[in-house]
């Protein structure tokens, strides 16, 4: 029997740790409820309000984006879960037990990333597809314009919404690796996604157009909007690559710091 552990063994251990705490399931339930619940709520409100809408409003109506509005809230749930995948170990001191069992710290990070990536990719995709389908069914029942997965732009918007949530899980994880404390990590995460866009809004408009399209939240918008909106945002493909690069850089810095620091 070969006794030298590999990345597979470390990943199996990390996956076991991930699924043996209740917080994981509470977090995943929050993700599901936020995304699907808000899709139901918003689409029902729009449906009941439809007859009061004027022609211009009806023309501006986006059945896909409105059904995926829960993603905006779910991004905070996934960020917290990503962060806690590492910060909870620092909070309890369990990180020392973990690092004694897996002294190869880069391998440990890779294993944690694999667990988060696979789990959140699958769950996010299921959730956004469900939100989309439920939303469109509600629109159809009220004879409103609706989207369909056979339309490649709509399909792409839905898939990318799930990809966005997956990447943001890893952004939360990366910030957690760097900062190590749950509360500080969540503060920074919320600042980046929510506060900085507000600050940018107060900049002179000539600056805004240069800055705002680089913000993660606007990259997310660009990724999930089926129609190309304005010159002030990236194409969906560019936006996806940029957000992936952000994620790699943040997790990379966190990994580097982990290998340098005392535990």
């Amino acid at each position: 029997m070969s006794t030298t552990p590999t990345l597979v063994d470390t990943t199996r251990a990390e996956f076991l740790k991930f699924r043996t705490v209740r917080a994981t399931f509470i977090g995943l339930a929050t993700l599901i409820l936020l995304t699907i619940g808000l899709a139901v709520l918003i689409t029902l409100v729009i449906k009941s309000n439809w007859s009061h809408r004027g022609p211009v409003e009806r023309l501006a109506f986006d059945p896909v984006a409105t059904s995926l509005v829960g993603v905006f809230f779910a991004q905070f749930a996934v960020g917290v879960m990503g962060a806690r995948a590492i910060t909870s170990e620092y909070a309890s001191g369990a990180i020392r037990t973990t690092l004694a069992a897996v002294p190869r710290r880069v391998r440990l990070v890779v294993s944690k990333v694999i667990v988060l990536l696979v789990t959140f990719f699958i769950v996010s995709q299921i959730v956004v597809f469900a939100a989309f389908e439920i939303g469109q069914a509600i629109y159809k029942s009220g004879h409103l314009p609706s989207g369909t997965l056979s339309n490649s732009t709509d399909l792409r918007a839905v898939v990318m919404a799930g990809v966005y949530l997956t990447l943001l899980t890893l952004v939360g994880f990366g910030i957690g690796l760097i900062l190590r404390t749950t509360s500080v990590t969540i503060s920074v995460y919320v600042t980046v996604l929510l506060i900085i866009p507000i600050i940018v809004n107060f900049l002179p408009s000539s600056w805004q157009s240069h800055v705002s399209k680089y913000l993660p939240s606007n990259l997310g918008q660009a990724m999930t909007t089926p129609t190309s909106v304005s010159s002030n945002s990236f194409q969906w493909g560019t936006a996806t690559i940029m957000l992936t690069i952000y994620t790699v850089i943040i997790v990379g810095i966190g990994t580097f710091l982990l290998t340098r620091r005392d535990a």
Binding site: T4, P5, A13, G93, R96, L99, A100, A101, D262, A263
Partner: protein, 305 residues
């Protein structure tokens, strides 16, 4: 074999470990003794690859911890019993460690049984008492059946029965040929549980040896009881001894051995009822040694002025 090789560790300005250099032998229980804050835990963290040494290194069978392919099969450690995710069950905690080191998962129930926490294996460890957490930590250390075991202050939080159990347990591990390295700030504990003792103070090596060796080199005292202890005290003081008067006509004599005390009393015609050499306890030795290390800098200053 566990080897500490000119190990120095700084945290910013603080020198936690200062050029420690020693080997820990297999087959005996080695005590790692020093006051709180003397660098014991830091040394153990460096051995476990958790903290990076500022210079020097710690090696396990010639390799640093980071070089070990299957660390838990070579070294088992209990550093901080409460350093666990409180929301995970004891069994799942150990299963994760086993998976990461390719240790058969069947081993988990074996070690849980052995340390006596099998009945609460599926309970969250957050609800464990310190004693139960200690036992779980020991189970984790034994998981990979390692040849080297480290325990940082293992008796903390244990009840007397637990303390006895752990002493016997250390002995049996050593008897199996393993290296057992146990830190403590309690000299009394080390005196009964360790064969070999390494004493450090302020991060520096002070001395090493068996309990007997350490106490033999220390200056003992003589207890003498006499009906005329007042005159005996005068006689002994004039023979350049330091005399403390205890109750029950007893004197504690420092600076003379029991023969010298007896002869002095005989020469002065004083009847002696009891004459007992008092061996220095390990605790006395420890206090003297660490006190010296604390005063060292002070003496230097005086020499230069």
């Amino acid at each position: 074999m566990l080897k500490i090789d000119h190990l120095t560790k700084r945290y910013g300005e603080t020198l936690a470990v200062n050029d420690l250099d020693f080997e820990v032998k297999a087959g005996v229980v080695t005590g790692f003794l020093g006051p709180n804050g003397s660098g014991k835990s830091t040394t153990m963290r460096v051995i476990m690859g958790l903290d990076r040494p500022s210079s020097g290194r710690a090696t396990i069978n010639g390799q640093t911890y980071h070089q070990l392919k299957t660390p838990l099969r070579e070294v088992g450690a209990l550093l901080d019993a409460k350093a666990l995710d409180p929301n995970r069950s004891a069994r799942n905690h150990l299963r994760a460690l086993a998976l990461a080191n390719r240790i058969p998962v069947s081993r988990v129930d074996e070690v849980l049984e052995f340390v006596g926490v099998a009945s609460v294996a599926n309970k969250k460890v957050g609800g464990f008492s310190l004693g139960m957490s200690q036992r779980l930590g020991i189970a984790g250390a034994l998981l990979g059946d390692p040849g080297i075991l480290l325990f940082d202050e293992p008796v903390n939080g244990l009840d007397p029965e637990g303390i006895r159990w752990i002493r016997d347990f250390f002995r049996s591990l050593a008897k199996e040929g393993r290296t057992v390295f146990v830190s403590s700030h309690l000299m009394s504990e080390m005196a009964v549980s360790a064969d070999q003792i390494i004493v450090i103070g302020r991060g520096k090596f002070i001395t090493a040896g068996t309990v007997d060796e350490l106490t033999a080199n220390a200056v003992g005292t003589v207890f003498v009881r006499s009906a005329d202890h007042v005159r005996l005290s005068q006689v002994l003081t004039s023979a350049h001894a330091t005399v403390e008067v205890l109750n029950e006509n007893g004197l504690n004599v420092i600076g003379l051995n029991s023969e010298q005390v007896g002869e002095a009393a005989f020469a002065a015609g004083i009847v002696v009822h009891e004459l007992t050499p008092q061996r220095a306890s390990l605790e006395d030795v420890f206090m003297t040694l660490t006190a010296d290390s604390l005063e060292y800098g002070h003496k230097n200053v005086e020499a230069h002025s």
